[in-house]
C-alpha cells in the first residue's frame, strides 16, 4: 500500500465540555477520494478546520507528505499543497469570478509585493484563470460579479479556485450542500474528473454522491471514526447503519 499523503493520528479537540474531535485517526492516500460522513454535529467541519490550521488541536499529530503540519498556519499549509472549499462559500463577492480565480493564481505564484504592473491585464494570471473557469463550466460567467452568481455557481467557483492553487490534497466541505439535482450531478461529474489526479477528503451528506465518488469511506460519530472501509463494507456495517445510514438513506 502506498505511503499515505495525509496521516492524522489521535487528534483531540475540546470546545469547553464538548469533545468535537475524539482520538481521531484517519489517512488519505495519494489520488484517492476518501469520504468522511457522519450525522450533523459529528465534528466534520471542525476536523477540516484543524487540518487547515484554522483551529489548533489539543493533542494528536497531523502529517502531510511526510512533514508535520502541527504549528503551521493556514497559508503555510496551502503552500504545502492543501486546499479547501467551504460549507458556506467564502468568496470575494464584489469581484468577478475571473478575478477571484486570478487572485488565487497570483497567490500561488508567490509573494504579491508587486506595486506597479497592472494585475487586471496580466496574461500570466488571466490565461490560466480562464482555463480553470472553463473547466468548471463558468466560462460564460467570467466577468459577472460573484454576488450576482447563483449558489450552484458559487460552489463550482470555489472548487475552481481550490484547483487553481494546484493542491495535492483537496478538502471539500459539503460541496453538494444546497445544490439542485442537476447542479449536484454536474458537481459529481467535476469531482469524478479529478479522480486519480488529486487526493480528496470529501465531507458530504449526499449519499448518492458519496457512493458514486468515494474509494474509501470513514464514518465520524461524536468526533470519533467508528468505521473506515470500502463503500460496500460501510454499507454493510451494522454499527454504521444504526448510527447514520439508518436515518433513511441506505
Amino acid at each position: 500500500m502506498a505511503e499515505p499523503l495525509l496521516q492524522v493520528d489521535n487528534l483531540v479537540k475540546n470546545f469547553g465540555g464538548v469533545r468535537a474531535t475524539d482520538d481521531l485517526t484517519l489517512d488519505v492516500r495519494p489520488g484517492e477520494v476518501h469520504a468522511l460522513i457522519g450525522p450533523n454535529g459529528a465534528g466534520k467541519t471542525s476536523f477540516i478546520c484543524q487540518l487547515m490550521g484554522e483551529i489548533t488541536p489539543d493533542a494528536g499529530a497531523m502529517r502531510f507528505a511526510g512533514a508535520s503540519l502541527n504549528g503551521l498556519d493556514t497559508p503555510a499549509r496551502v503552500r504545502l499543497g492543501i486546499a479547501r472549499t467551504f460549507q458556506i462559500t467564502q468568496l470575494l463577492d464584489e469581484d468577478t469570478a475571473l478575478s477571484n480565480v486570478a487572485l488565487t493564481i497570483q497567490a500561488r505564484q508567490g509573494h504579491c509585493f508587486r506595486f506597479w504592473k497592472k494585475a487586471a491585464d496580466d496574461a500570466s494570471l488571466l490565461g490560466p484563470a480562464q482555463a480553470y473557469l472553463a473547466a468548471a463550466g463558468l466560462a460564460e460567467r467570467a466577468t459577472v460579479p460573484v454576488r450576482d452568481l447563483s449558489h450552484g455557481e458559487h460552489k463550482q467557483l470555489e472548487l475552481a479556485m481550490a484547483l487553481a492553487s494546484e493542491p495535492r490534497l483537496l478538502l471539500l466541505d459539503e460541496p453538494m450542500a444546497g445544490l439542485g439535482a442537476s447542479e449536484s450531478r454536474q458537481m459529481v461529474d467535476s469531482l469524478k474528473s479529478l479522480k486519480g489526479k488529486t487526493a480528496i477528503l470529501l465531507v458530504e451528506h449526499d449519499m448518492d454522491a458519496v457512493f458514486a465518488l468515494a474509494d474509501r469511506i470513514s464514518v465520524l460519530v461524536y468526533g470519533k471514526v467508528i468505521a473506515t472501509g470500502a463503500p460496500a463494507d460501510i454499507q454493510a456495517n451494522h454499527q454504521v447503519r444504526v448510527a447514520y445510514l439508518g436515518e433513511g438513506d441506505a
Partner: protein, 339 residues
C-alpha cells in the same frame, strides 16, 4: 481579453470615461487660479491649495480604509508628524542649533518633503505593526489611542512650542522657484498631488492592490489562497502613513504654522469623513470628499457662525442618497448626461 470594462448601457468603455473625467478635472484645476483672479477672489487659490493637500492625505487613508478595509482613526498623527518634520527642520535652520548633535536644519523643500515622508513612514510602520494585531472596532480604537498618544507627546514637547506649535516664517525654498508666491505654491502642490494620485492608481491596480481588495472582502479567503495578510496590511499602512506625512509637510508650508492640533482626533475624523463622503475605495473619491467637505465648510462658515448645524445634516444626506459618496454622484450625473 475578457476585461470587465465595457458597460453596454453607457456606450463607452469605463476606462475611457474615467480618463475623460480625469482630464476635465485637471483642466478645471489648471484654470482655477486664473479664474479666481478674474472674478476678484484670489483667496480661492489658497483654498484650493488647502483642498489639494488634504486630498493627498485623504487618498492615502483611502488606500487602507477604502481598499484594504482597515478603518484607521489615527491618520492625522502621520499628517502631523510630516508637518512637524518641516517645522523642526526649519527651526534648526534658523537658529543654527544642532539636531541630534548634527547641523540638520534645512529649509529646502526638496529635502524636507522626502524626510517628512520617511519619518512618517517609520512612525506608521512601528505603530501599524502593533495596531494590526487587532482588527475591526479594536483596530479603530487602537489607532485612535496611538494618534492621541502622539498628539499628547507633541503638546508636551515644549522645546518645539508645545501647545502653541511652531511658526514657520518663510515657506521652504525650491531652487529657481518663488514659493512665497501663492500661485507658485499652488502649482507645486498640484504637481505633487497628481504624482501621488498616479502612484496610488498604479498601486491599487497592481498585484499588491488586488491583495488589499481581497483582504477587505474576506481575510479567510485570502488565507485559504495561501496569503499571509499581515505583511500586506503593514506595507499598506506604511504607504498610507507616508502619504499623510507628505500632505502634512505641504500643509506646514502652506499655513506656515505647525501645531499639535493637526494630529488631534478631530482631524483624523475629518480625513475619514472625506473618504466616506467622496466614496471609499474609489481613486478620485477622496479628492471629491476633500473638496466637498472643505468647500461646504467654507461656504457655510461665511454665511453663519452656526455652520456645523447645517453641515452635519447635509453630510448625512449626501451619504444616504449618493450611493458610493460624491464619486457615486459624479458617476450618476455623468451617466444621466449621456442617456
Amino acid at each position: 481579453m475578457a476585461e470587465p470594462t465595457s458597460n453596454p448601457k453607457q456606450g463607452k468603455p469605463k476606462n475611457v470615461r474615467s480618463r475623460l473625467l480625469l482630464a476635465q478635472l485637471l483642466v478645471i484645476l489648471v484654470v482655477l487660479p486664473y479664474l479666481a483672479n478674474l472674478i476678484g477672489q484670489p483667496a480661492l487659490t489658497s483654498l484650493a491649495t488647502r483642498i489639494i493637500i488634504l486630498a493627498i492625505a485623504a487618498a492615502s487613508l483611502n488606500l487602507i480604509m477604502g481598499y484594504a478595509g482597515l478603518a484607521s482613526f489615527g491618520h492625522a498623527a502621520w499628517y502631523g508628524v510630516g508637518a512637524y518634520v518641516v517645522g523642526i527642520l526649519y527651526r534648526h535652520s534658523v537658529t543654527g542649533d544642532p539636531l541630534f548633535g548634527l547641523q540638520l536644519g534645512t529649509d529646502q523643500l526638496l529635502i524636507t518633503l522626502p524626510v517628512a515622508i520617511i519619518i512618517a513612514g517609520l512612525f506608521s510602520a512601528v505603530f501599524g505593526a502593533l495596531a494590526l494585531r487587532t482588527s475591526g472596532v479594536q483596530f479603530i480604537m487602537i489607532t485612535l489611542a496611538f494618534a492621541q498618544m502622539i498628539f499628547i507627546f507633541f503638546v508636551a514637547l515644549k522645546a518645539y512650542g508645545g501647545d502653541d506649535g511652531l511658526i514657520i516664517r518663510r515657506r521652504n525654498a525650491v531652487p529657481f522657484l518663488d514659493t512665497r508666491d501663492s500661485l507658485t505654491f499652488y502649482w507645486i502642490c498640484l504637481a505633487v498631488a497628481v504624482v501621488w494620485y498616479a502612484v496610488l492608481s498604479r498601486i491599487v491596480a497592481s498585484r499588491f492592490g488586488r491583495v488589499l481588495e481581497g483582504i477587505r472582502q474576506s481575510e479567510r479567503r485570502m488565507a485559504a489562497m495561501g496569503v499571509r495578510t499581515y505583511s500586506y496590511k503593514l506595507v499598506a499602512c506604511i504607504i498610507s502613513g507616508m502619504g499623510a506625512g507628505l500632505a502634512g509637510a505641504l500643509m506646514a508650508n502652506h499655513m506656515r504654522f505647525v501645531s499639535p492640533d493637526m494630529m488631534y482626533w478631530k482631524q483624523s475624523g475629518e480625513f475619514m469623513f472625506m473618504v466616506i463622503l467622496g466614496g471609499s475605495g474609489t481613486l478620485l473619491g477622496p479628492a471629491f470628499g476633500a473638496a466637498g467637505l472643505i468647500g461646504l465648510e467654507t461656504l457655510l462658515a461665511a454665511w453663519t457662525e452656526h455652520w456645523q448645524v447645517i453641515l452635519g445634516p447635509l453630510l448625512v444626506l449626501a451619504i444616504l442618497f449618493t450611493r458610493g459618496g460624491l464619486s457615486g454622484l459624479v458617476r450618476l450625473i455623468r451617466g444621466a448626461n449621456r442617456g
